[in-house]
Symmetry: D3
């Protein structure tokens, strides 16, 4: 309606200036960043596009992640432009915009996956990278397809999650939120030298789950490993494994303990704290991150935006990593 005053830094159009405009008002773009339309109209070329994928037809338990993107945005209103933990300004090192939500068919899985893939390719055709707000974990498959195509090679994967998500089928369905990384491995999208789950815990269907997972090339840093080793040591291990390869980071918010992320679909006790997760991410600076998602935020189970805030902070730090390339 009116032109809202924005922070500009390093030539980039940043968030609304919250010293002048209250943060609780106005349209809930991520971190109150400009929409892609506003940025482009003002002559800025987006480097990083925050995009929502409101889709949860792949879930096997509690649904609701279709409302995840809007909830994370609403929970991101307090994010400010300077990150003292890294000494960087994520919205200054790259032009970050909110590209809205994809239109995804909830009733047709094949169509949904195909459209996410083609939309992701279209959104990255200009060289921009994507920070995706899910949605359930099914969406990681088409996002990885797009990322690998853009990278021109299989990509390394850091997968923060309580679960392996390398299961095979569920009620005969090959494409669900429990299978994206098996499918991705089968499709040759992943750089099998540089794959790692972080934060896994909780019971599995059987030992074979682990054997399969290992066969695909995944390493595992469990939630208990993070407890014993600490975030810095874990980050160092991950950097060593991954360094020098195009990297996709996928964060299932259930990697956090249910205390830190109640608003999710398949919670498991014994998880990481949000501080551990953020500190690990901050330890990954220097890696070549080409795409990222944070998924499985189910607002109906959240309280006081607890989960949404954690996801928003994770996305903020992921944007910082993505922007190192810009």
């Amino acid at each position: 309606m009116v032109d809202l005053p924005r922070v500009t830094d390093n030539g980039h159009l940043g968030p609304i200036n919250s010293a002048l405009v209250p943060r609780y008002g106005g349209a809930p773009t991520f971190a109150l960043l400009p929409s892609i339309d506003e940025a482009v109209a003002a002559g800025h070329r987006p480097d990083i596009k925050v995009v929502g994928v409101p889709f949860d037809s792949g879930v096997s338990y509690r649904p609701g992640a279709r409302f995840g993107p809007g909830h994370i945005r609403q929970s991101s209103r307090l994010l400010r432009p300077y990150n003292p933990a890294t000494g960087t300004s994520p919205f200054a090192q790259a032009q970050v915009v909110d590209a809205g939500d994809l239109v995804v068919n909830p009733f047709n899985m094949d169509e949904a996956i195909a459209s996410i893939q083609s939309d992701a390719l279209e959104l990255t055709a200009d060289g921009a990278s994507l920070m995706v707000l899910g949605g359930d974990h099914t969406i990681a498959l088409p996002l990885l397809r797009a990322a690998a195509e853009r990278a021109g090679s299989p990509v390394a994967l850091l997968h923060f999650d309580a679960h392996l998500d390398t299961w095979d089928t569920y009620f005969g369905a090959a494409y669900t939120h429990g299978t994206p990384f098996r499918r991705a491995a089968e499709e040759g999208l992943l750089d099998t030298e540089a794959l790692c789950h972080v934060g896994t815990r909780g019971p599995l269907y059987g030992k074979a789950d682990l054997d399969d997972d290992t066969r695909f090339g995944f390493g595992i840093v469990t939630s208990a490993d993070v407890y014993r080793e600490g975030a810095d040591a874990v980050a160092a291990r991950l950097v060593e494994r991954i360094s020098g390869r195009p990297l996709y980071i996928s964060v299932d918010i259930d990697v956090l303990d249910p205390a830190h992320a109640p608003g999710t679909g398949t919670p498991e006790a014994g998880g990481m704290t949000s501080r551990e997760l953020l500190e690990i991410l901050r330890g990954l600076r220097g890696l070549e991150v080409v795409g990222a998602d944070v998924v499985e935020v189910s607002p109906a189970y959240d309280h006081a935006e607890l989960t949404g805030i954690a996801a928003a902070h994770v996305a903020y730090d992921l944007i910082g990593l993505l922007g190192e390339r810009a």
Copy 2:
């Protein structure tokens, strides 16, 4: 990001076509209507502007209505374009747009009231009328100032509320959510022949509250009156009292029983149902409504968008009334 398909009807740009785009995705404009920017860019002149006023510094008890506009919008995603209760299409009889939120200073009441007033005048300079989403009831005063100025005369007022809101001062403050209609009366903004509270109930400070109120010219239809007489008879009474005058309608969501609107600041037992309120509003067709608000939605106290949904439906019917003039 992509151009979303919209319903168009009677030459007006309407909501996103929800047969093609899921309602839970995308930006939460009111009823998924076009933003003012999108409509204007597409060559449409707005007749009715839905605008949020995220302000709650005037509340005397539970705060939080600053988050009201966003919450009502989020709760309005299910609104569809045809109203079978009236046989009309509110978004076809007039061009309705979402004009976003005003920028209001939470720390300076005088500045806040002044800026709301000037913004309201600016938004109506093109002849459009406003459907305001509050915010606390303090905002009715500057909105009435603007409405009276645009009408060129004092305006009639239908005031749906549990409370009279014609109190004088509170801790010495003249401008609070309990005083807008006393101030408006004192300022000569109200047509003293055509004022009515509807839905009041609950204890007062003293009998003098009623005496003052009568002196300002208000009639009262209590919540118990609605129970005894029914919505149709009440609506008929109101039409008779008001007919033929420019009318402002102000709906404090606490006019509903706390069962129907828990998410508000000063709830009183014994209130109206949402059905009664909607049926009364539908009985007001033919009145010359020049402005309207729905206020005092405090999301932190809401559950499952119960209050937000009620407010969204109220706003939808108010838009139908506003649009009869278009």
Copy 3:
């Protein structure tokens, strides 16, 4: 700490003056009335004592009513001194005070019942009447014992409840929240010419439940009767049945529909609205009310003080009835 300014009316010490002191601060006495100590110290003789009975060891399903008295008080902060529905000032027609909570043993039912009875007698030794905030419905038995003793005769009873509460035993226990009125009838505490349940609904164990109930002398106005006849006709019927006898009114908050009172232990669908209940109570003016309770508020199941507010308003109107004698 400081002497808070209070409303005084008709010589009585009333609530804190909320034009000077915000209602959300200070100690949560009922309606912000003076404590018994403060009133007595200021030379006022209490006519009506609001007293809590934090006890729920008699419940057969959801517990938690032990927190009821505090919750109702917290939910009563918005009550103001003048009741326009009756044209009376409940805190002016009698000196009303908050007498705090009884000390009741949760682990020994016999001791609990005995102490409630003796405390009730002690509190009424000065001629005051009691407005009791429960607690589960078990407490009605000792309260009726005390009321009958003070009345010097069996008392009439109006019992607002979803349930009859005239069952016999539960797991062999004679004294539970489902049995107080059978016990009271057996003990000769009730005036068998003037007993009525109002608002009952929901399934029973068998037809014999009704037969027993009739045998004790109870009439029944079901929730459906209230729907069909309306509050005024029901009130008139009750007045006719009861008039001229000392009357005890016991309100189980589950008489309200779960929409209006989710915070209770044994909710039944199809209940009354808070408006119906309040309007019936207002139709009882002129009856000789000697004691009253509102029970079964279980805050852990409440939302946004919905149930607490309903109970507080009920107690407010009951105080108005009790005060007619003062």
Copy 4:
């Protein structure tokens, strides 16, 4: 583990005897009725089978009804065996059992619909009728297919809902929770002389929605009609329209106002009260009810089992209607 004492009445095995066993313990079968296995093992032939259909892949907005059957059962623990509103004992007039939940594939709509249909046929092969706990409204289609096949003719339909559910497609999908009755009409499952929606309200996509609906043969009693005419008159109208035909009753819990049923997926303001719904159902005695469902209970949005309790009471009265044939 131990044989729990059960009420037996009229030769039928009824609920656990809650005078001996607390209602909050033990397995949550509907109304604490025997499981089908327990009843059959004890030599009882089921007349009415309560069966859950945990499926919500057909929803267009808030998901979660997959958890509905378990939630309704948990909320049904307080149901007792005698219904004073009708003077009948639903569990004595017929042998009612809990048949558990169907196994339904969440990822394959065609398979889901087919398996619900075949399971329904199998469950009714012995002449029993079904009381179905949903699940989303998609399931009404296969249930109507089975009901029509068992009836040997199209069936009459009473459809309690805020919505028409006769829409055509949604994102190209023919089978969703918004389309079951259009599909059923197209498939010739419905007796076009005897179809009625009750409780509809809220906006539609367009006037054509109503025209289509009328063309299929539906009558409409809106929520506002219920308000104006009262439950008894509405029930009489329905009986007149339906009488003498095999009747299927489908209750979408969103027919209730969000105040009475927040725990649902597409809530609309202005709805019926649970009392109105129950009184209408009680007015339908004498109709030949051959099957029934209560659907769209989404527990993640419920509070204090409010919605679950309403649904449980609805199912209880529907069982009473179903049992009149037994």
Copy 5:
């Protein structure tokens, strides 16, 4: 209704096969294990019986643990059969069944304790061990009596709790949730060489509480000790103290921080994380565990099954420990 496909491993009948049957449907037995009836009917002899004790009449603050067993079961639906943290399959190393809930009188403490004791003895007469889901902590006393009788000697005790639970009386009552271990010590049920509290914190009534506790033979590992020493060191200490003796493990869920277990009755800040608790339990392998409970889950205060999930995971690991003997 239908025979559900189950995982079988090592000759034992395991959970429902969730690759074929969605986890959100069907009866909520613990971890979707077979009921005792189903297992026995299929020819399996139970080694470990999961049994609920829905009882909370011993609580001194927030009640509601009577609903604990059902809530933990509902929260256990996601548990899978292989525990990668220990490399074991708890449901394969022993036949684990769900034995339902005990019938316990809420109104008579003596009868309640006696019946829990005799039921526990009866359930273990076949050599099975019990994994008990509470209920409040009062139940540990009769469970210890049964465990000591079955062990033929006093038993070692590991007690995870925020509180000591060795207080003496409360309002004159000897048997409450604050006293079971004092009573057990007095009755000679405990092996005074091998007793330890883990996770205690928060204020006490006085220093004498600690002196008494020490006199009974208890060691204490506080929550702060766990923070300083880490789970592995604590587990090693416990193993050293306990090793070689029949051991009972009692877990009050309030040993977790309120962030991890809000759904409990007497929460204390500064508690353990669920990860710490699970890692300590995993460090206890090799101990001779003869019985276990997890108590004090009060669902009305839980959110999104946070507490229930933590309790379910704790029970899962305890079953792993119990099964080492099988």
Copy 6:
């Protein structure tokens, strides 16, 4: 009403004796301590006054801290008199009383700040120190003015918070909850040699925020520092920096992770646990604490008193520190 039995220790009047009186009943003074009136009437001179400041007009995001003091008190009912973590009895080493709530004008910031300052001076005129329950962080400024005046010198400050709160203005307002410590520094209230933030994290507006902060003399121990160094090392560092100077401790509850303190206004992920905070406070023994506050508890966003309990425990340990001087 009746004289409640109280614990007395070391000549001081302590909390109600909860072995005789259930903790859930009675007036919710902090920790069930005597009110100032009761203590003084019984001849005790208060050393430490717990006082609430129900004020939140300075907040920039989620409001509601005006209800904080009452909520913390309600959440403090379980606090017992002996602190085993420190081996001290906070209510025995000093006479601690509950002095109720200040009366603060919500509509006039200047008047509010002035009255808090003058009330604080009046309350400490007898040499007592204050344990303040907020309220938003704005109140720290007048409290520091009073503390510095009473100390006769600038005071050292330990500030536990997610945020620096040394920002300058917000919408032109100099006095908000984001600015108290800048104002305090400018006014010379702070001992610039001994200032430290603890627990900060989350994004800032820019690097200049840190530069300004450093210029005022603040050191920073971030939440990540606490994670890496541990509570004991942090406490030791703080003691070294502060020792020997009059010290004010201000705890914004948002220093805790949102998992531990959802009920606050500007939550940031990655925070401290309540155990870390309490252990740091316990490491500060021996410092000369002259005043303390715990602020920003916003109950509408709390769950199950999680945040209130954390704040109550923090206040309890702060009282222990304050009492070392008594």
